[in-house]
């Protein structure tokens, strides 16, 4: 048993023992902690992992609570029917709001969450059927069979079963094909799209999950407190949940429990301790609370969870993947078939022409070098082919099909894999997991399947495939290291492994040899030749001319967005225009 498992076991033991061992009020407090942890968990996924800051979760708690409040008090519906009704209503609201706001970028999202949070609060407060500002009284307790959940200890069971289930579900989700993509959303959305992830849809899924957790918490809240009023769903409550996420550690699902526990307990203690120190009670709690929070964040801006994690000496959590049946591979074009055809592609940024009506083509089984001085437009060309940027003019055909109007994830689906000039890895994830993102399109199980662990067979194959590609890139010994901890040169190799995990027909490599030592370059060249033998075509941007000349079949030379020359390596080396561009610029 690993220490981490032991820690989890201890936590479970504590949860089981708590209602018997703790005094009544601490059981009550644990209920509040569980309720808050549910909402905070959604925020951890949404804000900490996926990078979507939300101040609006309390609104979903409110929808869940009011849905059951109205249905059970006004229409005398069973709580077990009002739960799905509340979840459905929240789901609809979240999809509606999410469809509009999740696609908002940058700071628009948080402000729109504040906006809907405030708007909904006043709607709660002004609707007659919701009891206006005075709320709904007499929400009945939940009954399970003959068991009426009406004491604090009874509610405890329900609340913590729900919270644990949500925690396990969240952990399962993050440790899966969808989860890897979710973890790339925050900083690496463009990369994820390039490997077939529909980031907008995935954001919506995370948003929906967070909203449903909040609604579940609201349902439990209403039946635990037996009373619903608008106060607990104002914008301050939403900010409180965010507090919990940040204090607990927004990047770990357990941070939700830590944050909810620490903040709830801290407030109770302040309530007990401060009146003894100050004459006037009350006024100082919020002040001391604020001061403590600032002091805490000064010490550890990553929240408390990393500190807690250090208490549990973990051996490496992630296991090396076992062998598994290989994934199906794509049918490959025969050598010499037309593969890529760029026709007068054009891209302009304001007045700057990055790529000017450029045309070239590639045959299957070829390694084509794309060279040129800095700023010649090579990386822009890559982005046009992979759909990261849309061309202003011209056409790009891949195996006879136009792709220049497709989003990058659809281009990835057609068998184009790429690396990025600026390394685009999720630094906190292991090399293995980063590479497994490359194989995203080779799996099919979604979020729900991964939460229910129905994806394990496929997941094993994905991970085994990723491990094979890491080995192949010569990084076997770093398989489980955090990608961000590797030197830059090796990170570029991880990028190649990730692209290979996508089982590409065409591989686009942007300066793969930069930062590599001589021997590593030789190994890389050997790897690329091996890929060509397998029938993978490669489009290569590289500045190291020795590396390029020894490897490529053909070269296209770009300068100021235009094609300067095209031909065999020997021809290019003798081409006066090329020499002028390369040497003339140096003077």
């Amino acid at each position: 048993m690993t220490p981490a498992r032991a820690a989890f076991g201890l936590f479970l033991a504590f949860l089981v023992a708590a209602p018997f061992a703790l005094p009544e009020f601490y059981v009550t407090l644990m209920n509040y902690i569980g309720l808050a942890a549910l909402v905070t968990l959604g925020l951890v996924l949404l804000t900490g992992v996926a990078g979507l800051m939300s101040f609006g979760q309390q609104a979903f708690v409110g929808i869940g609570a009011y849905a059951t409040g109205v249905l059970t008090t006004v229409y005398a519906v069973s709580p077990w029917l009002s739960l799905p009704a509340g979840l459905a209503l929240t789901g609809l609201a979240a999809l509606g709001i999410g469809a509009i706001t999740v696609r908002l970028s940058g700071h628009y999202l948080p402000i729109s969450t504040i906006a809907w949070g405030i708007a909904l609060y006043f709607v709660f407060g002004n609707l007659e059927i919701l009891g206006r500002y005075n709320g709904l009284q007499g929400v009945p307790p939940i009954t399970v069979g003959g068991w009426t959940v009406d004491s604090g200890r009874d509610s405890y069971v329900l609340i913590w079963v729900a919270t644990l289930a949500a925690l396990v579900a969240a952990r399962n989700l993050l440790d899966s094909r969808s989860g890897r993509a979710v973890r790339a959303l925050r900083f690496r959305g463009t990369m994820a799209e390039s490997f077939g992830v529909d980031t907008a849809r995935l954001k919506l899924v995370v948003f929906l999950y967070a909203a449903l957790l909040a609604a579940l918490s609201g349902w439990l809240y209403a039946h635990f407190l037996r009373f619903v009023s608008p106060g607990p769903f104002n914008v301050n409550a939403g900010i409180e949940y965010l507090f919990m996420a940040v204090v607990g550690g927004a990047s770990s699902v357990w941070g939700a429990v830590v944050g909810a526990s620490v903040l709830t307990m801290l407030k109770e203690w302040l309530k007990d301790i401060l009146p003894a120190l100050f004459e006037q009670s009350g006024n100082y709690e919020v002040i001391v609370f604020g001061v403590l929070m600032v002091a805490l964040l000064h010490r550890t801006s990553a929240g408390l969870m990393p500190a807690f994690a250090r208490l549990v000496p973990t051996s490496r959590r992630e296991a090396r993947p076992r062998e598994a049946a290989p994934l199906a591979r794509r049918e490959r074009p025969r050598a010499g078939e037309p593969l890529l055809d760029v026709r007068a592609a054009h891209k302009q940024f304001g007045g700057l022409v990055a790529v000017s009506h450029l045309s070239f083509d590639m045959k299957s089984g070829e390694i084509l070098g794309l060279i040129g001085p800095n700023g010649a437009g090579k990386s822009t060309m890559f982005n046009l082919i992979t759909g990261v940027l849309a061309a202003d003019d011209g056409e790009i055909l891949f195996r006879g099909e136009r792709i220049d109007r497709l989003p990058s994830r659809d281009i990835a689906r057609r068998g184009i894999g790429r690396t990025f000039q600026h390394v685009n890895l999720v630094g906190a994830m292991s090399v293995l997991e980063n590479v497994a993102i490359g194989a995203h399109l080779r799996g099919r199980h979604g979020s729900v399947a991964s939460i229910l662990r129905l994806d394990r067979a496929e997941e094993a194959r994905l991970r085994a495939e990723a491990a094979r590609q890491v080995e192949r890139a010569g990084l076997g010994e770093h398989l489980l290291d955090a990608a961000g901890s590797l030197p830059l040169g090796q990170q570029r190799l991880v990028e190649i492994a990730r692209a290979l995990a996508a089982d590409p027909v065409l591989l686009l490599l942007d300066e793969p040899a930069a930062g590599l030592r001589y021997r590593e370059k030789q190994a890389l060249a050997a790897l690329l030749r091996g890929l060509r033998e397998e029938g993978i075509s490669i489009l290569l941007v590289e500045h190291d001319m020795d590396f390029v000349m020894g490897l490529v079949d053909r070269l296209v030379v770009m300068d100021f967005g235009e094609k300067l020359a095209e031909g065999l390596p020997q021809e290019i080396q003798r081409n006066p225009a090329v020499i002028e561009a390369y040497l003339g610029g140096i003077e």
Binding site: T101, S105, A115, V286, V291, M293, S301, G427
Partner: protein, 347 residues
């Protein structure tokens, strides 16, 4: 709705919008320079307004204790750093800035309150009390976290907001206060009966906005602020002291907040916790302006003020719902136009 009502509502909206515009500018300034979503901006409004009202009724506002304590804390932190870096030569300057200056201000307030001096003297004293809180706040709460994520900085902002709001309740009490108007006059403007005070608000906003423009376009500090806003690392590389720029932006924000508070305190009742919602509306204005452009932020804030005014006529119970729901479509439109920039991964 008659034309007269429209005119009244417009006047009301413009007066409020002018305040929101000032706050929007301050929030934008702080955000672009330091990436801090400056929730406590609203506290400066409350502190300035309530301090002024207290001084007018002959009481010493508790603001001076906050100033003294904050200064002492900042001095301690600076001294610790100076000792660590073995730069003891900095000590006299630290003492002068964080201890002597606040003490002088506190002394002056103490001396002036029972003498019931002219209103403009009291206003100057209020500014002297409230404005230094800005840089002190930056030094104490934010500077140690200057490179943290926007989320963490936001949480710090909330914590600072809690502290200041709590102190505000302790020192100013739970009931609202109002200060004397600068001038009681009324002007006839068509059908409108415009109070001199609301003209003051609009005029002062315009002057401040012009002054900010001048600062940014024409002075070396303004240029340094802009450079820091565009690229923090780059600014540091060319020798701009980014911490000083942070303090400067907080100083300006505090000044703008304090002026806003002084301007509106005669026309409305202000409470210890009023600042938050006013600041929030300024923030919405800044967002409507795209969080990048000062003139757009001012226009956005004005729009919020007008929208609020008309919404309070049509359906006052749903006023906030209307104001905050209507900005969502605007946000969507803005975001569709803007380029998506991914946040930098923290090291």
């Amino acid at each position: 709705m008659t034309a007269e009502i429209v005119a009244w509502l417009a006047q009301d909206g413009i007066t409020n919008g002018a305040i929101y515009a000032l706050l929007a500018l301050a929030l934008l300034l702080v955000f672009t320079v330091t990436r801090v979503i400056f929730v406590p901006q609203g506290e400066f409004i409350a502190y300035a307004a309530l301090s002024l009202a207290l001084m007018e009724s002959g009481r010493v506002p508790g603001t001076i204790y906050i100033l003294l304590a904050g200064g002492a804390l900042a001095a301690a932190m600076e001294t610790a750093r100076a000792v660590r870096e073995r730069a003891l030569a900095r000590l006299p300057r630290i003492l002068a800035l964080y201890v002597v200056l606040p003490a002088a201000v506190a002394g002056a307030v103490w001396w002036a309150v029972p003498r019931n001096l002219a209103q403009w003297v009291q206003i100057l004293l209020v500014l002297a009390m409230v404005v230094p809180l800005g840089p002190i706040m930056y030094r104490v709460a934010y500077q140690p976290l200057a490179s943290a994520s926007v989320l963490v900085l936001f949480i710090v902002s909330m914590a600072v907001h809690y502290v200041l709001m709590g102190l505000s309740l302790v020192f100013f009490g739970g009931e609202g206060l109002r200060s004397r108007p600068f001038s009681e006059g009324q002007f006839q403007l068509g059908v409108l009966n415009v109070s001199a005070q609301s003209l003051w608000v609009v005029a002062a906003s315009l002057v401040l906005i012009a002054a900010l423009w001048f600062l940014f376009e024409r002075t070396i500090y303004g240029k340094a602020l802009r450079a820091t806003a565009v690229n923090r690392v780059g600014a540091r590389l060319v020798g701009i002291p980014t911490n000083l720029m942070g303090q400067l932006s907080f100083l300006l924000a505090a000044f703008i907040g304090a002026v806003s508070g002084i301007l509106i305190s005669p026309i409305t009742t202000l409470y210890y916790d009023t600042g938050f919602i006013i600041g929030l509306k300024g923030f919405v204005g800044a967002i409507l302006g795209g969080m990048v452009s000062y003139p757009l932020a001012a226009v956005g804030a004005l729009a919020v003020g007008l929208l609020e005014s008309f919404a309070s006529f049509w359906a006052s119970a749903y006023k906030e719902s209307i104001v905050f729901t209507l900005i969502i479509p605007v946000l969507v439109w803005l975001s569709l136009r803007s380029h998506h920039v991914e946040e930098e991964e923290e090291k």
